[in-house]
């Protein structure tokens, strides 16, 4: 991955974040910074808290302790120590600044590909119909689906749906894009077309926090890789170090070992 992330203060700053579901301690104090223009990928075994962490960043999940800030603004809570939950209007305004792409696409089934993109542009960004339509077409072209603008999600393949999902998120011009296992529900032959779109966004300098099981993709696309297991950050380094045969973290080595046995890395 070329191109250096910029900015001294990180765009996204996660500090000491903890989260429990009932008696299960899912996040046990996570620290993670993402700089403007940086692509950070989180890998690790299932159930390690990767998706939960990602969902905390745009407050689809609440977190119990610690702090998450984007551009200096606390996500989800206000009044510092008092930790008051923000109003729904406030939350909506903040979420508009983070784009998210989901494992199961989650396209609005009653809207066409173009309408899926224009909904947020008109209702949240306040663009006029024509302007929103132009912008939707621009992004549909960018993900190679200009000819599918009028199609409903049910008329698209999984890979096409996910590319619309990406277009929907980036059209909002978010400060950071969150990608939650976006290829896990796809047939193997459709994964490439989706990852190509992500690579082209990275080349444009889009800040991204990615959770993926595509280890090869993580290696090629990321400035930095974070290994998460059992709710903690086990290792955090540029890909070359993570994949180094001298990697000191035992758990990471065995995790990667299982992968390289299955795929040739």
């Amino acid at each position: 991955m070329s191109g250096k992330p910029t900015g001294a203060t990180p765009l996204l700053r996660i500090k000491g974040v903890q989260k429990s579901f009932g008696s299960t301690h899912v996040l046990r104090g996570i620290d993670l910074d993402v700089a403007r223009g940086e692509v950070v990928t989180i890998i690790g075994p299932s159930g390690g808290g990767k998706t939960t962490l990602l969902r905390c960043v745009n407050f689809l999940e609440t977190y119990d302790r610690g702090s998450i800030t984007i551009d200096g603004a606390e996500v989800g809570y206000r009044d510092g120590e008092a930790r008051k939950r923000r109003t729904e209007t406030d939350l909506a305004r903040m979420r508009a600044e983070t784009g998210m792409v989901f494992q199961l696409f989650n396209l609005f089934p009653h809207l066409t590909a173009a309408q899926n993109i224009t909904l947020g542009l008109t209702r949240v960004r306040g663009l006029g119909r024509a302007e929103a339509g132009d912008k939707a077409m621009h992004w549909l072209k960018r993900v190679g689906l200009a000819d599918k603008a009028g199609h409903l999600p049910s008329e698209l393949s999984g890979g096409q749906q996910q590319r619309v999902g990406i277009a929907r998120a980036v059209a909002m011009e978010p400060k950071i894009l969150l990608l939650d296992e976006i290829t896990s529900a796809l047939d193997p032959e459709l994964i490439g077309e989706v990852l190509d779109v992500v690579l082209s966004l990275a080349a444009d300098g889009m800040t991204m926090l990615i959770v993926t099981h595509e280890i090869g993709f993580a290696r090629d696309a990321s400035h930095r890789i974070v290994f998460m297991a059992e709710g903690t950050v086990g290792a955090e380094a540029p890909p070359a170090e993570i994949f180094s045969p001298n990697q000191p973290n035992e758990r990471l080595r065995s995790f990667l070992g299982r992968f390289s046995a299955a795929h040739r890395l």
């Binding site: 745009n58 689809l60 729904e88 209007t89 939350l91 909506a92 305004r93 903040m94 979420r95 508009a96 600044e97 983070t98 784009g99 998210m100 989901f102 199961l104 989650n106 396209l107 609005f108 089934p109 009653h110 909904l119 947020g120 209702r123 949240v124 409903l152 049910s154 929907r168 998120a169 909002m172």
Partner: protein, 221 residues
């Protein structure tokens, strides 16, 4: 079996059946329309409201579902005016009753539909920055309505048939027209055969229309 079918007298009075059928349809459309408004509002309150609101709505639904429609019709037409000392005409009274009755069934359909909207779609609405109200209007309700179309078709046809209960308070709808012809001509088999045919054809036409809507709008998942 010394009964000879003779439809002559039925055709002579067919205008009574025809105007009755039109009124039946009007009763159904009005009541379903008002019932949809009641159902939607209460379903939204149910899924987003507090315990007391839920309990009240549940009580309304259970009351209506467990009491025969004919009893409610009597209660509203004869009972309420006696207690509160006012009067309304029988058609208005029946539309009010059937609307409240339809509302109870539709709350259940819409409530279940709202619950069944995939959580991922609501997350997607949140993620692009929609407010709760915008998520309701642009994501939850349109998804829910498309998901509930098959259940709605059945409810609408049932409610159309239920308009026949209006005959007990002399609303001149289709069944009342049939009774009138029966009392005045004694051609009991003929009149009820014709009326059965009219209900069947109309009910089936409604169903076909709604099926067409389903094919057009239902969500293929």
């Amino acid at each position: 079996m010394g009964y000879d079918l003779n439809f002559t007298l039925i055709w002579r009075h067919f205008d009574k059946l025809w105007s009755g059928l039109i009124l039946s349809l009007e009763l159904a459309i009005l009541s379903i329309g008002i019932g949809i408004v009641i159902g939607l509002i209460l379903a939204v309150i149910y899924v987003s409201g507090g315990r007391i609101a839920r309990a009240l709505i549940a009580a309304y639904v259970e009351l209506i579902r467990n009491v025969p429609l004919i009893l409610l019709v009597y209660l509203v037409f004869y009972g309420i005016p006696t207690v509160f000392d006012f009067a309304y005409d029988n058609t208005t009274s029946f539309v009010m009753t059937l609307s409240v009755y339809a509302g109870a069934y539709l709350v259940e359909v819409f409530r279940a539909g709202l619950d069944a909207v995939p959580k991922g779609l609501i997350d997607a609405g949140k993620a692009i920055g929609l407010t709760p109200w915008q998520r309701l209007v642009h994501v939850r309700l349109p998804t829910m309505l498309r998901m509930t179309l098959p259940a709605l078709s059945n409810t609408f046809v049932s409610l159309f048939k239920d308009t026949s209960v209006a005959s007990v308070i002399a609303v001149p709808e289709l069944t009342y027209g049939a009774q009138w012809i029966n009392f005045n001509t004694f051609r009991i088999m003929e009149v009820y055969l014709v009326v059965t045919g009219l209900y069947l054809v109309t009910g089936y036409a409604i169903l076909l229309g709604l099926r067409a809507l389903e094919r057009r709008y239902s969500i293929g998942r």
